[in-house]
Symmetry: C2
DNA sequence: CTGAAAGCGCTTACAG
DNA sequence: CTGAAAGCGCTTACAG
């Protein structure tokens, strides 16, 4: 049984079949209240019979609103971003918008991808994660398209931002380690010097150490690509530097889980012999023995809020607040 | 410094500024060889000066090719699908296509989301994962849009498919457990009866057991949502059923890692006391002690192949092969 | 190599 | 409540 590929019915076809003008068909979908109930019924029935699907490309061109939101993500593999995208997409779809997705893991790629996206005349743009080149910012600014940066809680580069303070979150959990009585605490971070989001967390950690009068320079930075192995590398390096090391505060749960794996290998009991703090509350945090104490962020809510802000700006021309804070919390398990 | 929101230059503006007809401007971008070098240079320079960005919405409407590919994904949180999407997006962007993304975790959602997508007149559709309702299939069939189903190696529902045999992969790794001398082996699977991709793996496992003359009914199915905990639940249940259980063959690495965590809790050495096989080669497989032996699938390559097949069909009207196999391999570590 | 004309399938004021 | 007209910004044959 082969698919019949006869051309799709147009609005004109439908209008003719229903015995009304195209204008009335258009109103049936866009402004149903402006059409008499009987007429509307007739049109909708004919539409169903014909399998009519309105051409939103033509609609976009005519109305000047594409109802597409471009989302730029450094990596889908990051489960925080995946959650943000889900929160964003769900809200958008319910409002009749579509998501135009592009992955861009470095600035040159981002600029290229952005040009492609801008040609599609998106009604709004969502940037995920913090780092963007001057050129990218300029491209967006010149387009005049509303844009919200997610996972950013202050000073949007262009327009709007939604997120929370990475600094505060890292400081809070580091503080908790201090309150547990630990005195020799290391930081396991990432290597990318340009990444403000990693820098902010490290500074938060160091602030907590300084506040407590402890050493704040037990810092090891692993490449982002090292994954779980980063936790092991950090433990090895920092124990060499400070043999009395009692705990590790990690830039992500992945690193933290890696540190816990290393404790298992060494037969060190957690938290008695060694403590570990995570960041992100990924699924693994709840499952890796003995359970990881970590910062729980609300990626889906960030995505939802981004969608709300964008749609408000698109539809009304302004937003109540160009910057929104989404709360984070600390989930206490048994790793510290 | 406020963004200047003067309306974007159109092709007509650019044509006037460059002293040529719109037609010639169009040719400069689409068929550069049809334009004299000097004219082209002039147009391109003027375009740069004006910050001209071609309106691809208008282009789509006029040409009848939207150059957008709609991708339907059950969940972005699945890192296999994330890889497929990356392989797909990279290839597509290089060819001047854009990705229209929608997440749909159940059939009713899928149908709704599909209608929204179809209105955008995508040039092609990528379905990720195996299960689709009759209505979804029918919607796609009637649209006449080329579609490729990924993570499916045979009998496409509509048009094309690319993936590998889940049955074979599960049978192969189960076979390896048998060759290691294990005689009491359980299957830790998922609960969704409708999910062909889980069923196939289980059947592959059972085939390997039958071939070896072993019990094939040591099966435990955990809800998909149980995550790492599923591995623990499976061990508990199957050990109750068969105290001599020596190993667990798992439907995903997440479950397998959960089983390894449970071994740690019990102080059971792996693989001496208990063996575990995974599926997926997620990042955790390499890191969780003592290293998980697992099936490595090539999600990115599946995405790339899907893009190739789709573009070939879109641009030439047919494909060399409507079904493509992407090889998998078994990665040997120390868990069995 | 270059251009005038028609058209893609809708929506937007504006009349009736 | 309903419709005829113009237009959104491109591309597609077709002439010159």
């Amino acid at each position: 049984m082969k698919a019949e590929r006869r051309p799709r019915a147009t609005m004109a076809d439908l209008a003719a079949a229903a015995g009304v003008s195209p204008m009335t068909v258009s109103n049936c979908f866009k402004h149903p209240d402006k059409v008499q109930a009987a007429t509307r019924k007739k049109v909708l029935e004919t539409a169903a019979a014909l399998g009519y699907v309105p051409n939103l490309i033509a609609s976009s061109l005519a109305s000047g609103n594409s109802r597409m939101i471009a989302a730029l993500v450094p990596s889908l593999r990051n489960s925080n971003y995946a959650r943000t995208l889900k929160g964003l997409g769900d809200h958008l779809h319910n409002r009749g918008y579509e998501l135009l997705l592009a992955e861009a893991d470095h600035p040159a790629r981002e600029e290229k991808v952005l040009r492609g996206l801008l040609g599609r005349r998106p009604a709004g743009i969502v940037m995920t994660g913090g780092e963007h080149s001057e050129l990218s910012i300029e491209l967006i600014r010149q387009s005049g398209v509303p844009v919200v940066e997610t996972w950013r809680h202050a000073r949007p580069s262009v327009d709007m931002a939604v997120g929370f303070s990475l600094f505060d979150a890292a400081r809070d959990i580091a503080h908790m380690m201090v309150r547990k009585g630990l005195r020799h605490i290391g930081w396991a971070g990432h290597d990318e010097p340009a990444s403000e989001r990693y820098v902010q967390r490290q500074l938060g950690f160091q602030q907590a150490m300084s506040d407590a009068g402890l050493r704040a320079d037990l810092v090891f930075l692993a490449p982002e690509s090292s994954g779980f192995a980063g936790g092991r590398l950090a433990m090895e390096a920092l124990l060499r530097q400070e043999p009395r090391l009692q705990g590790l505060c990690c830039v992500t749960d992945v690193m933290a889980a890696g540190a816990l794996f290393e404790c298992m290998r060494r037969g060190w009991s957690v938290p008695e012999r060694f403590s570990v703090a995570g960041y992100g509350d990924y699924e693994i945090a709840a499952e890796v023995p003995p359970g990881l104490t970590t910062v729980k962020t609300n990626g889906a809510e960030i995505g939802r809020a981004a969608a709300e802000m964008l749609l408000q700006k698109i539809e009304t021309g302004h937003v109540e607040s160009a910057v929104r804070q989404i709360p984070y919390e600390i989930v206490i398990r048994h790793s510290l």
